[in-house]
Symmetry: C2
């Protein structure tokens, strides 16, 4: 057996000689030549680092301020004077508008009906504004709440009117093209399937179901879930209560002191400190927004939907993966997005408006409502919220044009994390200058 066919030192001395060779020609993993790309652990690293840094911030905050959470204080936000409840009165008031509304449908001709409809809608938008501006016992938080309810009502009634008009149009078109007997036969046939058709939907029961349902778009026959899942309902209820407490606690403990500390740098226009404060505010603000999102769009809406056996639970889509600003706005708030698409964007396209202009118009209306919900309760007309929404149009263009994939996603996140606290600080600064310092220092 010749030696030359073996490895240099031969396997017969294996026990010793294996140890002799312990290097081989290879690249480092982080060199681009290695082709290695498994960085699974980095996600865990990010999560651990985030939790640890925020734990520290929380502890620092506790040491600095003590415990500031006070659930009783929350009530005083809604009610300055416990004996006059203007916000609640406003909300009860809306029932009258609703009754008036149902009576409108079909009672008058199309023209007079539309006229009264417009009067009613503008009343819905203007009445709370007047109340907020002229009733001094209204607190900003109570006012935001009342205005939000009225805005939702406005959007719902607009949709209700539109859909009923479409139904009348269809009925007329059918009457023109088909024999009446056939048409009635079909209507009777659908009644067997418990499908309601116009004008069978014009009942109080149907209308109130729509008013309380977690959607802004009216439909004659909403999809219904087969039964109320009790465990699901209880879980959502628990989330609602727990997250509500968490939100209030975070705002009292983290947002309020940070905002108060930000006033001085903003008055002095000390630029580097302003950015530091902005970034400091960005973290709690963003966390609160995320919790609010989950609380409102997942817990609360699912709770209401489960209770009403409302079948369509798509209240949001996967906006967290959005790679363009447009995708974010089209997917984070599905009820509003659906309404805009159905009652504003598509009707505009039908009238020959170009897509670009229609999109800008949607942002314009959205900007109006954002401003409406912020300026009126604070009794300050500064247009920061309006501009914050309008700036999304060039931002969407920029991100869509220049950033792809993960870079686009990161840009959307940055605009969310940084954009919101800028707007918050703007308003708080102006509010502080006006109300706390007195107008002379402004």
């Amino acid at each position: 057996m010749p030696h030359s066919t073996r490895t240099p030192l031969g396997p017969c001395y294996g026990d010793i000689s294996i140890g002799l060779f312990c290097h081989k020609l290879q690249e480092s993993l982080l060199s681009s030549a290695s082709g290695y790309s498994n960085y699974r652990g980095i996600l865990n690293w990010c999560v651990v680092m985030l939790i640890l840094s925020n734990a520290r911030l929380f502890l620092e905050n506790l040491i600095k301020y003590g415990i500031l959470v006070d659930p009783i204080q929350v009530i005083s936000l809604f009610l300055k004077d416990p004996y006059s409840w203007p916000a609640l009165c406003l909300i009860i008031c809306k029932c009258l508008a609703l009754l008036f509304y149902l009576w409108l449908q079909g009672t008058f001709g199309e023209r007079l009906g539309t006229f009264l409809h417009l009067i009613n809608l503008s009343t819905i938008l203007c009445l709370p504004v007047a109340t907020v501006l002229f009733v001094s016992s209204m607190t900003p938080v109570g006012a935001v709440f009342a205005l939000a309810v009225y805005t939702i009502l406005f959007l719902k009634l607009y949709s209700y009117k539109d859909v009923n008009r479409w139904c009348r149009d269809i009925r007329q078109a059918r009457a023109r093209t088909l024999a009446r007997s056939l048409s009635f036969q079909r209507f009777n046939g659908s009644a067997v399937q418990t499908q309601v058709s116009y004008p069978g939907n014009l009942t109080h029961r149907d209308m109130y179901y729509f008013i309380f349902a977690p959607t802004l778009c009216y439909e004659l026959n909403f999809p219904r879930s087969p039964r109320i899942r009790k465990r699901f309902l209880l879980r959502r209820l628990f989330e609602m209560v727990f997250l509500m407490q968490l939100l209030v606690g975070l705002i009292q403990q983290w947002m309020v002191p940070t905002i108060q500390n930000s006033m001085k740098p903003f008055q002095d226009m000390d630029f580097s400190r302003m950015i530091e404060r902005l970034l400091k505010l960005a973290v709690p603000n963003h966390l609160i927004w995320l919790i609010f999102f989950y609380w409102f769009f997942h817990s609360s809406m699912n709770f209401v939907a489960e209770l009403m056996q409302f079948g369509d639970r798509e209240f949001y889509r996967d906006w967290w993966n959005s790679e363009t600003v447009t995708y974010f706005w089209a997917n984070w708030n599905i009820p509003v997005h659906k309404w805009c698409l159905r009652h504003f964007y598509k009707p505009m396209l039908k009238r020959g408006v170009s897509k670009r202009v229609a999109q800008a118009a949607v942002f314009l209306v959205s900007a109006f409502f954002h401003e409406y919900l912020v300026s009126v309760p604070l009794k300050m007309f500064r247009l920061w919220a309006f501009m914050g929404m309008m700036v999304q149009v060039p931002l969407a263009w920029f991100v869509g044009q220049f950033l792809r994939g993960n870079y686009g996603n990161a840009a959307v996140w940055i605009s969310l994390i940084i954009g919101q606290p800028i707007a918050v600080l703007m308003y708080v600064h102006d509010y502080y200058v006006l109300h706390v310092q007195g107008p002379s220092a402004g």
Copy 2:
């Protein structure tokens, strides 16, 4: 054509009727029933949040302390007195040990050789200790540097001796079993392939190549890379210089003030503030460690290897994905891991020691060297580093036993991020009490 086969309002009114249906039965994405699991955007969110929070910390630090970075100060860390360079003298000194070493190999019998070998090795470990403890002009940083060089030398010479002994064993075994003529024929054959074999390796050139090569394990024929890639070399050089500056800057600007601020809570034993300081220190400490890792194990070692055409670039494996503590220790520092495996763990297993005991022994030796590298330069024998390494044994058992997958990975990261600053603070606290405050306050 009967109507009943069509959809309720018929496709002939499509333009109007499509708008009538805009809900369908579906679950929310975040409900477990939806089966949705694409949270790709969350990784981007984590990265953006981390960058923004650390940008804020950095800005806060700049506002609070101004710019503390001072490259000149670094030199004074190594040299208190610029005219006496004890650390450098020590390093030059080691050349003598090396020459002595080469002379040892093969000159004496196996027994006397081993005896002299042990004397030389213990000199290598003890000489710098004596220098550091008795030469007062030695700064801690200079001492760590000198001790690290001597430790590396110790490990390399240990490996050199072992491999040469294995070669002698093989030669003797071969001499016993085979005809001399055949054996010599094979040796001549391998010389044609430019493979060196014992005792042809006992040259100054071969030894110095090993001493400067980025590995701790000696091999007669190291794998060699075919050529020096100039672009690769320059990139690594640039990284070395840039990261070195970054490290020094981060330590001066971020670590030193944070540590100084931590002294008071640690003296007062104010528990909540101690944890707050610990977490505050954890972030810069961890970043510095990560940058150091990249600087040393990727940039510097690859630079040296490229320069020497050393082929085996596996200086680390994918420790960032490690799901157990053992995996981390076996993969983050491959030169040391390879040495421990080849010259300590496997020889122990051969002598019949169980795997568990051998593993614990490896940690024990590692703990000794950690303590050696920290205690001697600080002239404090506190055993914190020793205990920090030894605690890895129960930690490894715990993580391996109870945590799997991402939880295990997160546990490894937490132990890294939190464990290191604990040890750092322990030493700094004791050093502060001893040297700054004076021994009476300790």
